[in-house]
Structures are given as structure tokens and as C-alpha cells.
């Protein structure tokens, strides 16, 4: 058998029907009330009640990044946000088979596709909680914020996906300007500290935190916040260039 025939045989072996389907999921983080939260969608069809991370599919001629932006916009309305691909989940038995049976006891042809085995490419996204009013998406009952601690309530393997996203966040974010994507553009140091403490899951010494973040040169003082009931805190903002893309991070300045 010559090379050409071998390659033809290879093509015949694999083909579209022999390989898994691909989907995409987004872990959209927000920060509110000293808690780190993520956007989830609740779907109720018949007696089936599931909670999932926002997700969808990739068009035949659509960039992965465009698909992410489309899906994030669907759930949050936001357009220029920070996101990063962090994992792919693809166990051999990863499918909606069980959910499909509940949704469609008569096994309708139209829904059969959902029961296929899916590999899902996962992105995490960081958004400013205050900018968002969550609305039901196309065909989903409602989008809402879920504190990250409650990852257990997610369906499928979406709890694992969230856990993996948190690990990535924890590794990549602390003390980097990425944090700014979870905060309003102007913020106080205690606010920033509370955010970072929520991400890393432990308290930080205030004096040391201040020194570290200030000497890093990533923020600038821009005023004072007189609204509080105690001593006014200094207000800072992040210093930016524009798009700082370092190793797989798409970074849009506000």
C-alpha cells in the first residue's frame, strides 16, 4: 500500500462521524459583597432541573475567541472583557445522555444530537459585577450569580470545570493588573485587598499588601473616597497600556 492509499484509508477511518463533538463553556467571574461569584444558567424542562455554566458551540467558520465573546455577551451583555482559555474537558463518557433521556422520554430525533459525546473547551472571563444586569438568554430560564463555594450545585462536570477555573485564577491573578477586570476602574486598596483575599482564600497583612501593590507600580492614586463612615480611603486606578497580551491572555483595557 503506498502512502497515498494509506492516507486515504486514514481519512476513511476517522471522518466526521468517528470523532467527538466540540462545545465551549465560560466561567464568568464577578466580585460582589466580598464574595467571588460566577454566572450560571438554570434550565427547567419538564421535571428536569439543571444548573450549568454558560456555554454553546463554535460556528464552522468562527474564531474561538469570537465564540467566547458571543457567549459572554449573551449572558452578560458585556463586550470587551478579559478572558483566557484554561482547560479542555473530554472524558470518553462526557455527554448529556442522562439529561437527554429526561428531556425527551420519547427520544425525539431533534434532541438526539445533544446526547452525543462532547469535548468542551473552557474559558474563564472576568467582569465588573456592577456593570451587569443578568437576563435570561434565548432559551434559558434565567442567568444568575452563584458564589463559587456552591460549585457542588452545578450539573454534569461543571463543578469540576469551575474548580479548575479557580485554580487557574489563583495561579495567574494575584497582584497582577488582571484583578482590575473584576473591579470598577476606581477602587480603594481595602477593596482590592478584599478581592484578592477572596481569590486566594486567606487574609493578607494590610501594611504588607499596600507596600507590595504600590511599589509594583501597577496602580496610581487618583483621589479619596469620602463616602464611607470612617476615615476616607485613597482611591486608585490601574495604569494601562492598551492590549497587553501575555501568553494566551487576551487583555482589553477599559
Amino acid at each position: 500500500m503506498n502512502i497515498n492509499d494509506k492516507i486515504k484509508h486514514w481519512a476513511k477511518t476517522w471522518q466526521t462521524e468517528a470523532i467527538p463533538q466540540v462545545s465551549l463553556n465560560c466561567v464568568i467571574f464577578g466580585f460582589h459583597d466580598k464574595q467571588l461569584k460566577v454566572v450560571v444558567n438554570k434550565i427547567q424542562v419538564g421535571k428536569l432541573n439543571i444548573t450549568v455554566l454558560p456555554g454553546g458551540f463554535i460556528g464552522q467558520r468562527e474564531d474561538l475567541t469570537d465564540a467566547v465573546e458571543r457567549i459572554v455577551k449573551e449572558s452578560t451583555g458585556l463586550e470587551k472583557i478579559l478572558f483566557k482559555q484554561f482547560a479542555v474537558f473530554g472524558d470518553a463518557n462526557r455527554s448529556f445522555e442522562h439529561e437527554y433521556s429526561s428531556m425527551s422520554p420519547s427520544h425525539s430525533k431533534e434532541l438526539e444530537w445533544f446526547s452525543k459525546r462532547f469535548i468542551t473547551i473552557c474559558y474563564l472571563a472576568l467582569v465588573d459585577f456592577r456593570k451587569i444586569e443578568l437576563k435570561p438568554t434565548q432559551f434559558l430560564e434565567a442567568a444568575q450569580w452563584l458564589p463559587v463555594e456552591k460549585s457542588k450545585t452545578l450539573s454534569l462536570d461543571h463543578g469540576d470545570i469551575l474548580a479548575s477555573a479557580r485554580e487557574t485564577l489563583l495561579k495567574e491573578l494575584p497582584y497582577s493588573p488582571i484583578a482590575s477586570n473584576l473591579l470598577p476602574s476606581k477602587f480603594t486598596l481595602p477593596e482590592l485587598q478584599a478581592l484578592i483575599e477572596a481569590i486566594i482564600g486567606r487574609r493578607i497583612d494590610r501594611p504588607n499588601f499596600r507596600r507590595k501593590i504600590i511599589t509594583s507600580g501597577t496602580i496610581v492614586k487618583v483621589g479619596q473616597d469620602k463616602s464611607g463612615k470612617r476615615r476616607p480611603a485613597d482611591v486608585y486606578t490601574f495604569k494601562f497600556g492598551k492590549k497587553t497580551s501575555q501568553s494566551g491572555i487576551s487583555y482589553y483595557a477599559k
Copy 2:
């Protein structure tokens, strides 16, 4: 339109034919002659001459990790190796379309599938250079080692994939026992140092390197190497538990 109808409409919109195909690529690193190298496959079909990273497809009911092990074994014969998923490449226009035209000027039906748009899930793998005798795989002319500096000679976007793999290696490996996967189980400190220097791309101070690696407790002295022409170097080996899986790394001890 009720939820049920909306979901049916959604399924109809997407379906198998509306989404991209998935493939898998492996960047297999080895270390030899003070150089970091990767396994590449050269294929020649007609006048077409391309150099690619080992790759393939994922079976309908095959775990991603099984697919990686299968593909690595195909090129190297090795079975229990360290590997890690590090990126997904999936531009909208990512396809073999051009190569397909050259391979099959008559546009044969059998090969058409290869010209589709592919998203590829990428893994890096670390192997002991000395354990491997590269052989031609099924339908490929030859597998061979390519020094990482020559990433420019790779076809498609495989040069970018290699670059991304190196970045990941650089971020995750230094001073960690992962390095052991690129070395024989017994090695001298100068050997280990040369490896790490090749990965991070700069020289390290010898005394400081020794201290750091020894106090880290990851290696143990097991003898001396009298084979050299100079003062004998101490021989070390890595201390292991068995499978240490930290954050997405599948780790097999030798």
C-alpha cells in the same frame, strides 16, 4: 415558542455539520547534546513536503488522555510518560485546505475531510531521549528529532504550537521534578543544570543552582560517575511518590 421548541430549534441550528472538527497534537520534548528537541513527522506526498508535530484524532469513545498516549506511543514507543494539555488552537481558517489541494489536485472525495476546519487540542510530553528509537509511523515517511530553535521549519501553525509549548514548559518546569522525565533516572548535577539552562535559555550560577536543587529535597545522591575525564561528579536520582497529579498534570514515576 415554548422552551422545548426553542431547544429543538437550537439543536437544529448547530448539529454535527455546523461545527468544526477536533484533532490532537503532541509536542514531544527530549534532551540530547545540550539541546532541547522535539519529535516531528515529515510527510511527502507527490511534490508536497510537510513537517508537522505528531498528531491524530480522538475516537468517539476514547478519553483524551488515552488518545495522547496512543499518539505518543505511535511515534516513540513509550507508554508511561509525563504529559500536559497546554493549549487549543482554533482560528476560524485553520485547515489543511492548501495542503489538500496539493495532495489531491483532482479533489478526491476521500481526502476532502482533511480540508475541513480543525480545532486542535495540544499536549506537551516529556521523554527520555535515550530510550527512544524513532520509527516511521503507519503512513508517515519518518519521525525525527528537531532542535526547538528550528521551529520555523514546521508547516501550518505548528511553529506557533511549539512556541506555546516552550512557554508552558518554561513557566512550569524549572526546578521541579518534572525535569526528571527528560533525563535518565540517574544523572549528575551538571547534566541537570544543562537541561534547565536549555529550557530557560540562560546560564545559571553553579553554586546557587546546587544549593537550590539540593535543599528542595527532590533529589538524592546515589553514587559517583567515574566515567568522565575530570573530577568525578556525584550521581543523583529523583525522589518520588507515585502518581503526583497536580493541577492537570498526569505524572507517572519511572
